[in-house]
């Protein structure tokens, strides 16, 4: 468990952030200039907070009151930077081994072979960083950080220097890394797509302040946080399992906590787990059970929260077996006489699901 409470002033920018991070991947998420990188640097000891404390379990890394400030090299926090920062005068192997030597290879630690296999960099070992592509360089940088056997891995926008094809290659690797090595990762990003794909929990930052923290479902379903969690593109994230494929219509059936859902055909195996993102604006509501309608996905449920959004919109949170956000016009909302506890049918057009690569991911 990582416990962070830091304050620091840079000119007229103030960081005042407190949050806790458990196992799995926690995203520090927010727009550029939210203070994400500054907080990551404080975790690593590359920046000193004016006040506060940073604690891993019962190990104190920083405590202003007790005048504790563990130096960078003793913090045991692995870093993957935006730029790969590989050492140009070492080969890939030399880079990977650089962090290994001073640390004891405990029983739970990752081995050179595991890391090289997982990242698919076995053919690159003799090469120099300068001769690698950007994607390869970033993979080596990830491997180097992993092999230093850190207590935590901090990844500071590790994909921002890559094009979308390379991103698609590396995202599953990070996902596997998390599950295979049981790592605790702090992942810094301003990309909602990366985060819905990877994060278990979110710490939402804006202007140096924590706006919300918790499991990703809770954060994206919090109507007050919609301005920070995507705005126009905001939506819910739910987990589902593939039930069957129907090749004749090129549709797939997936099972959600609210019942079956039909989505455009995917080639993932039956039984595999999905994370599906459904944008609030792609959800329509009906007061009565709809008939003679093209929309396949219909979920009966209740309105459990609502609030006025921008430009005559009403943001709603529904419980339809799972939590689902919906956005309708304020006009419809009033004409249908909706409110807390209203029974409604939520309608989700199948064609809106998975229209972007970021909306459906295998987990």
């Amino acid at each position: 468990m990582l416990d962070v409470s830091v304050k620091k002033t840079f000119g007229d920018f103030h960081i005042d952030a407190s949050f806790s991070v458990g196992p799995g991947l926690t995203a520090l998420f927010g727009p550029s200039g939210a203070g994400k990188t500054a907080i990551a640097k404080m975790l690593g000891g590359l920046e000193t907070p004016d006040e506060g404390h940073i604690q891993i379990g019962d190990r104190t890394l920083f405590n202003r009151q007790k005048a504790i400030n563990v130096p960078v090299q003793e913090r045991n926090i692995g870093f993957v930077f935006q730029e790969h920062r590989l050492f140009p005068h070492y080969s890939v192997r030399g880079n990977l081994n650089y962090g290994q030597r001073n640390r004891q290879a405990g029983s739970g630690s990752v081995t050179f072979k595991d890391v090289v296999d997982l990242l698919g960099i076995g053919d690159l070992l003799a090469r120099r960083p300068g001769s690698l592509s950007l994607g390869e360089q970033q993979r080596v940088a990830i491997g180097r950080a992993l092999l230093s056997n850190p207590d935590f891995l901090v990844m500071d926008e590790p994909l921002s220097s890559l094009d979308s094809a390379r991103k698609k290659d590396i995202i599953p690797l990070i996902s596997r890394m998390k599950s295979e090595f049981g790592l605790t990762i702090i992942y810094i990003s301003h990309s909602l797509g990366e985060i819905t794909r990877l994060a278990d929990s979110l710490v939402l930052l804006d202007k140096g302040q924590v706006k919300g923290a918790g499991p990703i479902e809770n954060i994206v379903n919090n109507l007050e946080l919609i301005p920070y969690t995507g705005g126009f593109d905001a939506g819910s994230v739910l987990e589902a399992t593939v039930v069957s494929h129907d090749p004749s219509f090129n549709m797939s059936e997936i099972e959600t906590e609210g019942g079956p859902m039909f989505i455009p055909g995917r080639d993932h195996p039956v039984g595999s787990k999905f994370r599906v993102r459904i944008r609030a604006r792609d959800v329509a509501l009906s007061a009565a059970e709809p008939k003679d309608l093209s929309i396949l996905n219909r979920f009966k449920g209740q309105i459990i929260d609502h609030r006025s959004g921008q430009a005559g919109m009403e943001e709603l949170l529904l419980d339809v077996g799972f939590r689902l956000t919906a956005r309708i016009t304020r006009k419809s909302f009033e004409q249908m006489k909706l409110g807390h506890g209203s029974e409604v049918w939520a309608l989700i057009k199948s064609v809106t699901i998975g229209s972007s690569e970021l909306d459906i991911h295998l987990i």
Binding site: G44, L46, P71, V72, Q73, E74, R75, N76, I77, G78, F79, F81, E83, R85, F87, P88, H89, Y90, S91, R93, G94, N95, Y98, G99, N102, R103, R128, R144, A145, S148
Partner: protein, 229 residues
């Protein structure tokens, strides 16, 4: 080549090699301080280091004479405490050439350190290496070409140093008479021109070899790094 000529060349080489050896460690320290640290009096240090580059060598030699000479405040202390005298011997020549070569070596090293991406050093720290080890494994290998360039410049400067040497330790054959001093002396006497010409050619040859050697070392050091990594 006569015995006298060989003596002159060997003395010049000895002086130039020692000049580089004694200059490098402090030049590395000063170069690093100037490139990386902000401290009170940094400008003064910078000016003092560069002074020999802009002052007439004779003036530098004179300053050395009055400070390091037998009656100079440092020189008398050195002699009384350690029995070391720099006057009229080759150690004095080393001091004179080292002072003249120092700014060139510092400049080359400083520029090399400034060119190192400090993000690499930070990354090395996050991988658990101590600052000293980071310097040895990251910074030093990356600035090695700069150090070699500085050493070559310093070596060449020491071979050619004239003004400060002749003022500080005089022109004594077999003791302080390096190549340029010998050439100067030969040109002052009748019939000396033939030997002077030979020494001039030897000078040029030594300078050429020094540069070739440093190029070779630079290439080898890069290859060495490659094979070690």
């Amino acid at each position: 080549m006569s015995e006298a000529e060989i003596g002159i060349v060997l003395l010049s080489l000895k002086v130039a090699i020692w000049c580089v050896i004694v200059s490098l460690p402090p030049a590395l320290l000063i170069g690093w301080l100037l490139a990386r640290r902000e401290f009170y009096g940094k400008t003064l240090v910078n000016v003092l280091v560069h002074l020999p580059l802009v002052m007439p060598p004779v003036v530098v030699g004179y300053i050395l004479l009055v400070t390091l000479g037998k009656r100079g405040f440092i020189g008398s202390w050195l002699f009384d405490t350690f029995g070391i005298s720099l006057i009229f011997n080759w150690k004095g020549v080393v001091v004179a050439t080292a002072v003249m070569a120092f700014p060139l070596i510092v400049r080359a090293i400083r520029q090399a350190i400034e060119a190192v991406d400090q993000n690499l050093e930070t990354a090395a720290l996050t991988l658990g290496r101590s600052p000293a080890l980071v310097f040895l494994t990251i910074t030093l290998p990356l600035i090695l070409p700069g150090i070699l360039a500085g050493a070559t410049l310093g070596f060449a400067r020491a071979l050619g140093e004239f003004g400060a040497t002749i003022t500080f330790v005089s022109n004594i054959p077999g003791e302080t008479q390096t190549l340029p001093l010998a050439i100067y002396s030969l040109l002052q006497v009748p019939n000396g021109e033939e030997m002077a010409l030979r020494l001039v050619i030897l000078s040029a040859l030594l300078a050429f070899l020094a540069i070739a050697l440093s190029e070779w070392l630079a290439r080898r050091s890069i290859k060495g790094l490659e094979s070690r990594a």
